[in-house]
Amino acid sequence: MVNTNNRRTILYMVLGILATCIMMFPVYWMFITSIKPLNEIFSSPPIFFPNDPTFKPYIEIFQGEKSMLLYMKNSFIIGSGSMLLTLLLSAPAAYALARKKITGLVIIVGVLITSQMFPTIIMATPLYIIYQKIGLTDTFLGLIIANTTVLLPFAIILLRPFFLRLPKGLEEAALIDGCNKFTTFFKVILPLTRTGLITVGTFTFLMAWNELLFALTLSNDNSMRPVTVGIFNYMGEYQSVWNNLMAASFVSSLPIVIAFIFLQKYIVDGLTTGATKG
């Protein structure tokens, strides 16, 4: 019995390693290409372990007018701005929808779920024209607002279950302790839903970081554009200088790697909560 169990564990482990290797191979290929000198990139057969690793691509992409540093700074501003605005709006809304008697609750939730499904282009075309008229084109604020139109419905749906989970009677107890509705929300409820806020914050930041279409259509000025547009520009500029392109791709994925290391639990939590108990 013990023996078959052991054998089974080993079989699962081997299968697990195999599946992980296959899934992760493209990521490995991205990294390995980014540290190859140019002549090794086009060698046939391809080189799977670089003989002569170099960090020149990483230095090159941080130099000049179109430095990755600029794009990453912009992405950081747009990402944190979108995250803050989304949290600011979604936290009280999700709270009310979870724990208050809201008139038209079913309709509001229905509208949120529907607008979560809109392809970005539906929003991009009208926002482009509206922004041109009111002068929000080429501003960080414009991009932050545009991102929030997509993130807000998603954030409310993801956050609501975290408020639903809190014990009943919490508000009544706070009321007796002398809180009003707003101090209850800020002092009692929000600290208790920290996990949910971190989850939603992580997601919204990463989604805003990964966004391309709004950045492409609502900003023309290169000094305002985020890292996604930056990589697309590199594609035109570097053509087949794949090591630089892969270095830029790798660097722009760094926030995700960092989020993975520190916030993995929240991400998995949020995903399963959002999809199964939304």
């Binding site: 899934m23 493209p26 046939s44 809304a93 009310a96 009208p126 024209i129 807000l152 509705k181 991400i267």
Partner: protein, 317 residues
């Protein structure tokens, strides 16, 4: 007599007062409760609903670069007539259908297989799960550039591997040939989406009662049988939600296609969102672009209603 009526009058008065107070308190309560929603509703009306209504209006107007600042001119149904007589609309619809269908089916099968595997307990399983999840979080732009490189005709590693294994005899121009481009972008998107299916299905699987399997084992059910008779039926709610989400996520895909192929070659990878983008932002025909968005809007609303009905049904169960 007099004192009695006086007393009842007084009594009535206080009762009414209490009732009135109660009512105003109720009103106050209602208002403060809904104040929490106020910022979101305001944002929604200005930045989501208004643009969507604007888009609908746009689809009935002739609007291009020359007149979009002044609001364009009324065109009735001309934009809809124009796109419905454009063969590219039907090609884009077909491409969207093939792309979405292939993505859902393949991502679901592989995602489910991975979920069943990574549900087991073995050393390193959490780490592997997390590592695979990283794939899903990569920006679509990065996935696009990466697959363009992997699938490159001459020095792409995919052609090398496939040749070595003996599946192909000569290099295939995955991204730049009309014949293979749709397969290429579909494959890239499948890779990108698998971890999402895996993690959602893992979440669903973790809620299944373990003792049910023990009981089935005692009754002599083998692995495959208990999968069909226990796992699948119990997973139905998760699977339904997941397939709906998958359907919408795949239908929405724009970034990946924009980066890998730009809708080409010869419109071979033009899907509906890309078609709308092309009309609005490459040809600056905002009216027709708006009309395509209008069609998408209708499709999305139908999907949303189906989704909500499914959720209701599941909740009722």
């Amino acid at each position: 007599m007099d004192t009695k009526t006086e007393a009842t009058r007084l009594n009535m008065n206080t009762k009414q007062k209490v009732k009135y107070k109660k009512n105003s308190k109720k009103k106050m309560n209602w208002i403060t409760d809904h104040l929490f929603l106020f910022p979101t509703i305001l944002f929604f009306l200005i930045f989501i609903l208004y643009p969507i209504l604007y888009n609908i209006m746009l689809s009935f107007k002739k609007m291009d670069v020359s007149n979009f600042m002044t609001g364009g001119v009324w065109a009735g149904l001309a934009n809809y007539q124009a796109i419905f007589s454009d063969p590219l609309l039907y090609k884009a619809l077909l491409n969207s259908f093939i792309f979405t269908f292939a993505c859902i089916v393949i991502e679901f099968i592989i995602g489910f297989a991975l979920a069943l595997l990574f549900r087991q307990k073995f050393p390193g399983v959490n780490f592997m799960r997390g590592l695979i999840l990283v794939v899903w979080m990569l920006p679509s732009v990065v996935v696009g550039v990466l697959y363009k490189w992997i699938m490159a005709g001459d020095s792409g590693v995919l052609n090398f591997v496939l040749t070595q294994v003996g599946l192909i005899e000569e290099n295939i121009l995955w991204v730049s040939s009309e014949q293979f481009a749709l397969i290429a972008v579909t494959a890239a998107n499948i890779w990108h989406g698998i971890p999402f299916y895996m993690i959602i299905l893992l979440g669903g699987l973790s809620t299944l009662p373990r003792d049910l399997y023990e009981a089935a084992k005692i009754d002599g059910a083998n692995g495959w049988k208990s999968f069909l008779k226990i796992t699948l039926p119990l997973m139905k709610p998760t699977v339904l939600v997941l397939l709906m989400l998958g359907l919408i996520n795949s239908f929405k895909v724009f970034d990946l296609i924009y980066v890998m192929t730009g809708g080409g070659p010869l419109d071979a990878t033009t899907v509906i969102p890309y078609y709308a983008y092309k009309l609005s932002f490459l040809q600056f025909n905002f009216g027709e672009g708006g009309a395509v968005s209008g069609i998408m809007l209708i499709l999305v609303i139908i999907l949303a209603i189906v989704y909500l009905k499914l959720m209701q049904k599941e909740e009722a169960n």
